[in-house]
Amino acid sequence: MPLDASDLGAIWLTLKLASLTTLILLVVGTPIAWWLARTRSWLRGPVGAVVALPLVLPPTVIGFYLLIALGPHGWLGQATAALGLGSVVFSFSGLVIGSVIYSMPFVVQPLQNAFGAIGQRPLEVAATLRASPWDTFVHVVLPLARPGFVTASILGFAHTVGEFGVVLMIGGNIPDKTRVVSVQIFDHVEGMAYAQAHWLAGAMLVFSFLVLLLLYAGRRGKAGWS
C-alpha cells in the first residue's frame, strides 16, 4: 500500500471536514440564497458581495483574519471562550468555521441562480391554491431547485477538499485533527518525500476530475452553473 496510516488519516479527516461543511452550508446557505434571489432591498448588493468575497480573496487573507479573530485577543475567540468552548484555533471546529466561510459562495451562488430561475409564476399559482409560504417552499421551490442543490453540494464539497491556505494558517498541522490531504501533500513535498507526494497528489487529481466530470456530464447543454 503506497499510502501510509497518516495519509489515510488525512483522507478520512478531509472527507469528514468536507461533508460537515457542505451540510452546514446547505442549511445556512439556503435562506441566504433565497433572500438574495427574491429581495428588492438595497442590502442585496452588499450582502451578495460579502458572500462572494472568498472567490477573490487569497486564502492567506481569510486565514490571517481568522487567526487573529479566533485567537484569545480576537472578538470571535473571546466569544467562544465566554461560551465555554475555549479557543477553536488548532481544532477541527476551527477548520469547519474556516471552511464554511471559504466555501460559502460555491454553495450560495448556485442556489441563488436556481431560485432565481424559478421565477414568480409558480409561487403565485401556489398562493392561489392557498399554499402557505412554507408549504410552497417545501413542495414547489425545493423540487424545482433540485439541480441547484446538487451543483451546490458538489461544488461546496469539492472546494472544501481543495482547501489549503486557510487550513495551513489556522490548523497547526495536528494529525487526525487538522492535517488534511492538501497539507499532507505540502508536508511530503517539503520533506522531499516525493514518492508519497505523488500518490496523494495523483489521488487528488483523479478525485477532482471525477467530481467535475459528474457535474458537467449531468448537465449537458446548459451553460454556466445553476
Binding site: 487573529i68 494558517m169 497547526g172 508536508d187
Partner: protein, 251 residues
C-alpha cells in the same frame, strides 16, 4: 505617430540594456529564520560593494524543490547543513563553496511577559494548552525542539499539545498572535542588539539538541556572477559576523 512593432522592440531592448547596467545583482534564497539579519546585512553589503541583493524568504525544503527545478537563485542560505550537502552531492552548487554562516540558537518563547521562566520550568509544569513548534520533518528548529522535549522526558506529555507551523516563521506567528501560549522559535526572531525584544523566553542551551548548523552555498546559476562571490565573502567577513551575532546566532 503610429506605434509600429519595431518601436516596441526598440523600447524593450532599451529596457533590457538598462537592466544590464545593474547586472551585478544577486538572487538569494534565504531561510525564513535568517530574514531579519539578512535585511540588515543587505544594507551594508549594498553600500559597501555596490552590488544589489534580491532576497526570497522561505522554507528550506521548498527552496530545494525550486532550485532543483530551475529557480533563478544564485546563493542559498539554508536553515540546515544537510540540504546544501545534498545539493553538493547532486552537483547543483559551485564546488567548494559550502560553508557554515551561522549556528542557530533555539528559544522557548511566549508573547506574555513573565510566562516563560529563565530555566524553562514552565514546560515541566505543563499548564499550557498549545506548544508551537516548527514542523520537525522539514525544519531544523522543529527537529531541535523535539530533541529538547525528548531530553526533558516530555515527549509524551506534550504530544497532545503540540501545534506545528510549516516553518519557523509560522511557529512564531502562532505564539505572537497568542493562539499558542508558548513555542520553540529561533532566537533570531525575538532577539536584537543582545536582548529578547518582548514577551519572555528561555534560551535553550546548545547542549540539549544537535547543533543547528546553517550552511550557505553558491548555486550553479551564480557561478559566473561576481556579486554572488562578493556576497559569500561578505558573509564570512567581520562586519556581517557582528550583525549575525547580534541576532543571537553563534558563528
Amino acid at each position: 505617430m503610429r506605434i509600429r512593432p519595431s518601436h516596441l522592440v526598440t523600447a524593450l531592448a532599451g529596457l533590457f540594456a538598462l537592466n544590464a547596467a545593474w547586472a551585478d545583482e544577486v538572487q538569494v534564497a534565504v531561510a525564513a529564520n535568517f530574514t531579519a539579519p539578512i535585511q540588515a546585512i543587505a544594507q551594508d553589503f549594498e553600500k559597501d560593494t555596490g552590488h544589489k541583493l534580491v532576497a526570497a524568504y522561505g522554507a528550506t525544503g521548498q527552496f530545494y524543490a525550486q532550485i532543483k527545478n530551475g529557480a533563478p537563485f544564485e546563493v542559498f542560505l539554508s536553515a540546515d547543513d544537510s540540504t546544501p550537502a545534498k545539493l553538493e552531492e547532486e552537483k547543483a552548487i559551485v564546488p567548494g563553496s559550502r560553508f557554515t554562516y551561522a549556528i542557530g540558537t533555539l528559544a522557548l518563547w511566549s508573547a506574555q511577559p513573565g510566562y516563560v521562566d529563565a530555566k524553562g520550568d514552565v514546560l515541566q509544569k505543563n499548564q499550557f494548552k498549545h506548544l508551537s513548534i516548527a514542523n520537525p520533518k522539514t525544519a531544523p528548529y522543529g527537529l531541535a525542539a523535539t530533541q529538547v522535549l525528548a531530553k526533558l522526558n516530555l515527549t509524551e506529555a506534550t504530544k497532545p499539545k503540540l501545534v506545528e507551523g510549516q516553518n519557523i516563521t509560522q511557529a512564531f506567528q502562532f505564539v505572537s498572535t497568542g493562539n499558542a501560549e508558548l513555542g520553540f522559535v529561533a532566537l533570531s526572531q525575538i532577539y536584537k542588539d543582545g536582548k529578547v525584544q518582548n514577551g519572555s523566553a528561555w534560551i535553550v542551551p546548545a547542549s540539549m539538541h544537535d547543533p543547528i548548523r546553517q550552511d550557505a552555498v553558491i548555486l550553479e546559476k551564480g557561478k559566473d556572477n561576481p556579486a554572488a562571490k562578493a556576497l559569500v565573502d561578505y558573509l564570512k567577513g567581520p562586519k556581517a559576523a557582528a550583525v549575525i551575532k547580534s541576532y543571537g546566532y553563534e558563528i
